[in-house]
Each structure stands twice: as C-alpha cells, then as structure tokens.
C-alpha cells in the first residue's frame, strides 16, 4: 500500500497538529459545565471525516451528548468495517498533580517514549487512538486503496456509561450494518511487545450516601452517643472484603468464569515483570485476591474498588464535627458470565442489609458494562494480527485486558456484530490519571497499521 503509506509519511506533522487541536477542546462528558465543549469536539470530528472523503458525516443529537456518524461506501462486493471510538474524556482532576495543563497538549520525551509523547487529557483515551482511524481513512482515500466500506460511529458519552448509544444502535441497525467492529481503545503490552486484547472486564458503578444525624453535630457534645456516618461507611466498606481479599457479597462469584489450568499457564507465559510493575507505580508491595497472580487479579478476576469518598470537614486545619452525611463512589470490575445488572442488585441488597439501624443508606447505580471475550480465530482477529506483525515486525500476543469497553457487548447484542480490539496505548500512559500521555510512536504506528487491517480483512473475507 505504498500510496497510502507515502501519504502518511508526507503528512505526519499535520496529523499531529490536528490531534493537538482536538485535545485542546475540554470535552469532559461527566461535567455538565463542559456541554458546549463536548459539542465542539463532535463538530471537529464531523468536519475532519468530511475533509477525509466521507460520503456523509453527520451529528446525531441524543438525550445526552451527540454521536458522530460518517461513512464511505466503495461497493457491495467488499466487507464493511464499523469503526467505533469516543471523543469525550475523563475529568482531569486532581488538577494540581498535572505537570502541564490537561487541555494544553505538550510533547515531552520519557524513558518509555524516547521519541516523545503527547501529554494531555484524552491524548490516549480515546481522542488519540480514535483519531488514528480518521487519519488512516484519509490516507487510504488519498492512496486510492480503501479496500472495505467504512463506517464511523464516534460517541461522546463513553466515560459516563454510553447511556444513549444503546438507543442509537437500536434505531439505526440498518445504517450501522457491518462485518466487523474495529476499536482502538485498548493497549499493547509494550512498544516491542505488540498484543491484541481478546477479553475485557465488565463494570458495575454505584454511588453511596450514608445519613446519620439530620445536621452536622459538635463532636464534643455528641461524640460517642450518635452514629458517625463516616465511621459507619468505613465499617461497611471494610466488611465488603474478607481477609483473603475476596468480595463478601453473597452470590457475587456465582457466575464467574474460572479459567482452566491450561489457560492460566498460557497467560503466565506473557512477558511480565512484577518488579518493573511495582516500580512503575511506586509500590513496595502489591495486594489482591489470594491464590492469583497480579496479571490474573488485573484481568480474569472481578474486583471491588472505592473510586471516591468524601464527608465531614476536608478543609485546612481542624473542625471537630460529626457529619450528617458521608458519600462514596464504588465500582466493581466483572469477568465473563457476570451480569452487571444482577451484580448491581446483589450489591444494593447486601449493602442496605448491612447498614446499622441508626443510619439511612441510599445506593444509586451509575452505569454498568457487560464483560466480553473476543475470538482469536476470526478473519478480523487474523487480519489485525497480520497487520500488526507487518508494522511491529512481531506476532502480537492475545491478551485479556482488565478494563471495560461496554459497547463491545452492546454491538454483539444489538447489531449482532463481533469486535476486534486493536489498540495501541500502554498501561503507563496514565489514562484517567494526571499527566495522561500517548506516544508519538504509538500514534503513528496505529495510523500505519490500520490500513493494513483493511487490506487483509478484505482479502480474508
């Protein structure tokens, strides 16, 4: 595909500049104050799809943030690829931990990225990875080498649960019909260890409110005699795991798919250094469910984490107060065969059942995601593997990821479509964290690899 690859080589700087422009738009879907910014990001994608040569590119309004759809149909005799991505990003806080402003991208060299990485919220998740597809599309059009029909569905609510995507899929099954869904929202093991994600954990996310007294009280006058909602919440959270770090919710593990000894042995062969892992996140020691390795705990096992907690006086100095309310955000990562709705209900019932009579507890489900496993023998997987082998010079490793991409299950249910997760990020890219970044190596490698996927997928179908 010399025409396509030449075009990529000639336009690398512009491809980067355009991404930086996109990263300057603070499209934080969780924060209603950014609604207009989210819209601007959608319009940016629409424009670029049109410029790249789409037959049509439109913005579909939803009850929440808009969805961008674009397509280029080259013929009925070739397969159709549906590219999914999202242009919304996680909230940037805590802001004070960023070395540079989250929405003012800068390029800096790191040990892992000697040729430089783009530091900005969304640089990897998912603006950078999504935009690779827009540029690969432009290159294939310029090179006259687009081997498949291509459809883009780029949403703005992935970081808040994709609530309106489901409705959109239901309403546009026809338009979205495809032979494979292609997504770059996952990672590779390392820049010299290409991999393709073949499994994803699901998610159940809830918010907790514990109410004790009807107002904040003086801890001197009332301390010891009334329920303190922060102490109570802490005790309830602590009771959710046993001493083996297993989750204490009745029925939680009922549907968990246990891997065979062979599967676990295969996983253990993937390159992994516990020392390097601990060093990269500054830990003296790891912890997790007894009887499982760190890689297993982070991929094939379900989890429960408190993502946020707050209550009482959190300002400067000391305030001797007993708060009226305490809050927590809690999420559980789920593995194949666990149903997020069922787990959410189990959690809700259990959490309410363990509340002491002296407090009121409110549990509000935020959103969920089904776990997913993708096949490794499909034409799509084989095409992705062949494309990566060509650009990385190495056969990619099939890998079970720990994160959730709710839409994989949605595409399966509603469109009856399989998904191939050909991502190019790294765990160390700090997505969802301060100083999120994305390697220039990874950005360009993605743009170069994607056209090859189309070529080989067309050949294999």
């Amino acid at each position: 595909m010399s025409g396509t690859q030449d075009f990529i080589n000639q336009n690398k700087d512009r491809f980067l500049e355009e991404l930086l422009d996109l990263l300057r738009i603070p499209s934080v879907s969780a924060d209603s104050r950014h609604k207009a910014d989210v819209k601007r990001a959608a319009e940016f994608i629409q424009t670029k799809l049109t410029e790249a040569g789409a037959d049509r590119a439109e913005i579909y309004e939803t009850k929440g943030h808009p969805i961008v759809y674009g397509e280029k149909i080259v013929g009925s005799n070739v397969p159709t690829v549906l590219v999914y991505g999202h242009y919304d990003v996680q909230p940037p806080d805590p802001l004070d931990l960023w070395d540079s402003p989250p929405f003012e991208p800068v390029i800096k060299k790191t040990d892992i990225h000697p040729e430089g990485a783009i530091f900005a919220r969304g640089s990897c998740d998912d603006k950078g990875q999504m935009y690779m597809h827009v540029k690969a599309f432009e290159a294939m059009m310029a090179g006259g080498e687009l081997a498949c029909n291509i459809k883009f569905i780029i949403e703005g609510e992935e970081e808040v649960g994709s609530d309106n995507l489901e409705i959109f899929l239901e309403e546009h099954k026809e338009m979205l019909a495809n032979d494979i869904v292609l997504v770059s929202d996952t990672g590779i093991i390392a820049n010299d260890v290409p991999s393709i994600t073949v499994g994803l954990r699901g998610l159940s996310y809830l918010e907790i409110e514990v109410t004790g007294p009807n107002r904040d009280l003086h801890s001197g006058l009332y301390g010891g005699a009334v329920p303190n909602p922060i102490n109570v919440l802490s005790e309830m959270i602590a009771s959710l795991k046993d001493e083996k770090k297993r989750i204490n919710i009745p029925g939680f593990y009922n549907d968990v798919l246990e891997l065979t000894a062979e599967e676990r042995a295969a996983m253990a062969r993937a390159p992994f250094s516990l020392e390097a892992y601990k060093k990269s996140i500054g830990l003296s020691d790891v912890e997790g469910e007894e009887g499982y390795s760190t890689m297993e705990r982070a991929s094939i096992r379900p989890t429960l984490d408190v993502n946020g907690i707050w209550g009482g006086y959190t300002g400067e100095g000391a305030k001797t107060v007993i708060a009226s309310k305490a809050y927590a955000k809690i999420s559980m990562r789920l593995v194949p065969h666990q149903d997020p709705d069922k787990i959410t209900e189990l959690f809700q019932n259990h959490f309410e059942s363990i509340a002491p009579p002296s407090v009121k507890v409110k549990v509000t489900p935020h959103h969920g995601a089904l776990p997913a496993v993708t096949p490794t023998d499909s034409p799509a997987y084989l095409a992705a593997a062949k494309a990566m082998k060509e650009t990385f010079g190495k056969e990619p490793v099939p890998f079970r990821g720990g994160g959730s991409i709710p839409i994989v299950a949605l595409f399966e249910q509603i469109l009856d479509s399989k998904t191939v997760l050909m991502g190019f990020g790294l765990d160390s890219d700090a997505i969802h964290s301060p100083n999120e970044h994305y390697g220039l190596f990874n950005y360009y490698k993605g743009i170069e690899t994607i056209p090859l996927f189309y070529k080989y997928f067309a050949e294999m179908k």
Copy 2:
C-alpha cells in the same frame, strides 16, 4: 444591683446591635484567607473594652492570631476575676446547608427560642457568650457596682488549638494573676433547667494520609492488583472499634477515670429524654459504647470520631480511578486522667502498626486538650450557682459536659488558677454546624447573671 440592671434594660437593643456587628466579621481562625478578618475582630473587642471603661485594653501579637487583653483594677482589697473567651469561630462549611449566610446574622423565632435567636456562625460559640461579659462589664461600670478587679483575655485561636495562648500565659503570669477564671463557652441543660459545667472532655486531633500507588490509576487496568488507599483507610478506620464500640487501641482505656455507681446514679437523675434527643437530631436510633447511657457516652466516656474523610473522585458523575492518596481527620474525646499527648502517641503507633505493607501511612497530630473537672464547693462555683438561681429562679444542676475547653487545664497548670464554667448556650444551638444560633433569652440572661457573680464572689472571698 439596680443601677447595673437598669443600665442593661435601657441598652438591650444596642447590646444586640453591637454583637451583630461582631458576628459580621468572618473571623475563621482555621482558614488563613481570613487572617485579616480575625485581626479586625480583635480590634473590635479592644475598642469595646476601652469604651466600656477598661484602664487599658491592648492587642498582643502572637505567632498566630492576636490575643486581646484588657483590665480594670478597682482595688487591692477585692478579688480579681480573669474573664476568658475567644473571638475566632469555626469554619462555616458546608455553606449550602445554611438557611441564611453564616456571617449575615438574622433573628428568627424557633420552638426552643420563642422570643427569637441570632442565627450566625459564632453567635453562641463564642462571640455571643464572650460578648455578654464585655457588656456586663460596661453595665457594672455604668452602675458603679464593679465589685472585683476584672481582667479580660480574649483569644483568636481557640478553634485551632490555642497554640500561642500557652506561651502568652507563661510570659504574662504576673499580669494575669487572678482569684478565679470565669468562662462562658459551655451550656445549660435547658432555658428552664439552669446548669453549671463541672467536667469537660479532653481532645486528641490527628490527620491521616494513606498513600498507595504514586499516581491515580485506571481501576480497570489496575483494579484488584494494587492497594486502593481508600479501601485500606476504610479498613483501618473500621478496625479502630470493636463490636461493643470500644476503641481498639492498646492502652487507650488505661488511665480512664471510671465513675462510681453513686456518681452514675447522680448523673442519671439529671433531666434527659432519649426520645426528645433522637427527635432533635433526626435519628431513629442512637449508638455507642455498650453498657453506658447516651448521657454517659457523651460526657464521661472517651470517643473516637472521623471528622472528615476524602480521596479519589468526588465530583459529578463517575470516574473509574484508583486514587494515589486518601485522607482523614480523626479526633478522640478524652476523660479525666487521660493525657492527650500520650493518647496521640498511642494512636500514632497503633495506626502505623496496622497499616498493610503495600501502603505508606502518615499521621500528623493537630492539637490536643486535657480533660478537666472543676470543684463544686469553691466560692466561685457557689457564687455562680447563687447568681444563676437569682436570675433563673432555680438552683443550677452540676453537669459533666462532653466538649473540650483546653484552656481550663492550661490556666490550672500555668497560672495555678481554678475556672468556673458559667455558660448559657444550649446543645441545640448547633455550634460547629450550619445554622448556629444563640437565643436572645440566653444572651440577655447571661448579661444579667454575670454582674451577680461578681457581687457574690466578692462577698464570699
């Protein structure tokens, strides 16, 4: 004391207006942004003491907030009363729970205060109660009936531990020499049940920082495999109490003064309705240390309460993050014979010892206070009791309070002075809480009662 009481009756409106002016100054000692406001409050007191007729009234700078000292010496043949109070206030947050702005005082009627109460931060604690003494002093001067030498020491750091007061006392023992310290920073049981506080709990206040990974992490990629500092902090907090709600810190109860059956029986005779108590703070049930009554839990028993907790994502919506750090503010109320420094050390050592190896824990002591018990047979107590009996028409009940007034122990240690705690607030005044208020009945009753204390104290000495 007709002259004094007439003057009070003729100047009630002005006495109120002056207090409202003082309450409009946001003298929040814990918040460095309010340093200038705290200074303004000190100058306000200095001015009013001078206007009331003090021989001298001065502002003494300290490393922190200033201390106001004023005095009127009427002769060497009369006893000297040292009035202590504080002009600093607690932080007002959570602001959204106030019905009116905390520093814009309004007068509203309540069930308990049919003649109206002043709603503002500091209205009771302690601007309102402290200012009663300034006005009582003015009235005694106007009436020519000041029966004792009077010295005022009004500080601006009571809500942050009175760190600089100790140094000041050490440096001015001579100037502060007295026969009794008189303080109104406590309450009465009810407006028709006068009482005098004869016991106070001590305090140990600490701040906790738990660090897991060196940065916020994506809970999908890392969840289950790394220590989550919020989960860990919750588990550590939960472990601090056993199922009987006793505090699990080795040695914590060693020095606790246990009351005799007679003393407990005497306490139980004080009027108290558990139903009214629960209703007043909207609780369906109370909780606390097994084997003790609600009144005992709130006064003669030590406690441990989390006053604030925070970590991770606390904004709108959902963020699937594992925080790098989690924080808590924890205070323990102490009873006679418990030493705050020793308890602080016990807590620190225990808390560090129970931290899992995978996290780092930092414990920072904020401030402490010694518990105190005051005698009921001293001339000062008897003078206060006689004064209250005259204005309330009822013998006051000796009462063990739950709060801490660190300076009571300081005056004992450094000035070798006894303190009488003749306060006029109510538990329901919501001090340290939104909508703090102070009854007009209580404000005026205090101003009327204080001059009688001077009269009877002079007679009894």
